[in-house]
Amino acid sequence: MLEKMIIGRFIPGTSIVHRMDPRSKLLFVFLFVVAVFLANNVVSYAILLGFTAFAIALARIRPYFLINGLKPVIFLIIFTLLLHIFFTREGPVIFEWKFIKIYEEGLRMGIFISIRFLVLVLITTVLTLTTSPISITDGLETLLNPFKKLKLPVHELALMMSISLRFIPTLMDETDKILKAQLARGSDLSTGSIKERVQAVIPLLVPLFVSAFKRAEDLAIAMEVRGYRGGEGRTRFRQLSWHMRDTAVLITFVLLVGVLLWVRK
């Protein structure tokens, strides 16, 4: 669990998708997520599925990692499918058994919506499997730069994200230590009345939050001593570079939307 929490789901590699600029990948995924909702018939969903398969092939991701990424959401997809099958009551009845009635429209919608989620999850998984969280954060910061004019604290948000990413493993260690320390003192979460168990949670939470505040104070002093004065005029250690392939990604997106608009009902 700890190892997973350090790098996220990023798998290093050298495919063309790995080498793309995080900005172009992010832009593409954001736009794609919106474009997915354009699909509304068999052909348009087939195009989406085909395109997703193409992206996966380009990224040369081993199926194992893809399936691993799908695992937490597969339940959600099945859940939506079932909700539609049992609750959407339109069109002719195609199956009837005792009190269960399945309608054609319910089955059709269920399958379409499931494909929609499958495509959404797969394409975002490609992004997170081929790009490290830190470089996505960098890309996000540069992409959002124009919003600085609207007084959106872009630099501060990106900094908070980096700090948060950096401290997840540390705080997990800490949580684990507190849990063990309280267990050793006889704290018990799995027996007793509801009131007793709720009470047993308090001694776990208090030290965790107090230590977060202490850590923040130390880090603030350390940053100030090293001359941190906010985002103005700050130079970057990691530089991003835009290539032809990144422009190509955006052109591909425009083409994809054109085709979707053409084939949808």
């Binding site: 954001f30 992004l127 501060e156 994200m161 308090i202 923040a216």
Partner: protein, 183 residues
């Protein structure tokens, strides 16, 4: 000098709270019948301890972290796909939840009865948001959406709201007396 350091410190605290939400989202408190997931509890705690402004930002940072692929959502899931998925409304709903919970206490007081009301208010906002989102994204009927997204979480929600208020006020009190948090 002191002021800018405090601002920097609060920024870091907010970032660390986002990390804590991500960690607590992986934990479940085993209560009989209604196991409590740490995610909503942590959001309530963040709002109760930090107030509306920083509480809301920490939720934003948490969601952004999940969006970029850190497995911080419940069940170690992550990615934009989860946010835009059928249950994404519960995640996005954390933003207004944190804001309203914090804002209610800022308007009244950071005392236990108000904290409980604020957290219950926040819980309803989260559930309503999640249910409406579920209805439209999964294109369900209202009955189906409410049966799947609202009713099953009510009892757990009340216990969580109470726990978040209680623990939150207690932690806030300790931080204030130790001058780690400036009111």
């Amino acid at each position: 000098m002191m002021d800018s350091r405090n601002k920097l410190k609060m920024m870091i605290v907010t970032a660390l709270f986002a990390a804590i939400i991500g960690i607590m989202a992986q934990l479940t408190i085993p209560l009989p019948l209604v196991p409590i997931t740490g995610q909503t509890l942590a959001v309530g705690l963040a709002a109760t301890i930090l107030g509306s402004r920083y509480g809301t930002i920490s939720v934003l940072v948490y969601l952004a972290m999940g969006a970029v692929g850190m497995p911080v959502f419940s069940g170690m899931s992550s990615g934009l796909g989860v946010i835009f998925g059928p249950t994404g409304g519960f995640l996005i709903g954390f933003i207004p939840t944190a804001f309203i919970t914090g804002y209610y206490m800022e308007r009244t007081s950071f005392k236990l009865p108000n904290a409980i009301i604020a957290n219950i208010l926040g819980m309803f906002v989260a559930l309503a948001f999640g249910t409406v989102w579920l209805k439209f994204i999964a294109e369900l009927s209202w009955t189906a959406a409410i049966m799947a997204g609202f009713v099953p979480f009510l009892i757990g929600g009340f216990i969580k709201a109470f726990l978040a208020a209680w623990a939150g006020i207690m932690v806030r009190g300790r931080l204030l007396t130790n001058r780690l948090l400036l009111a």
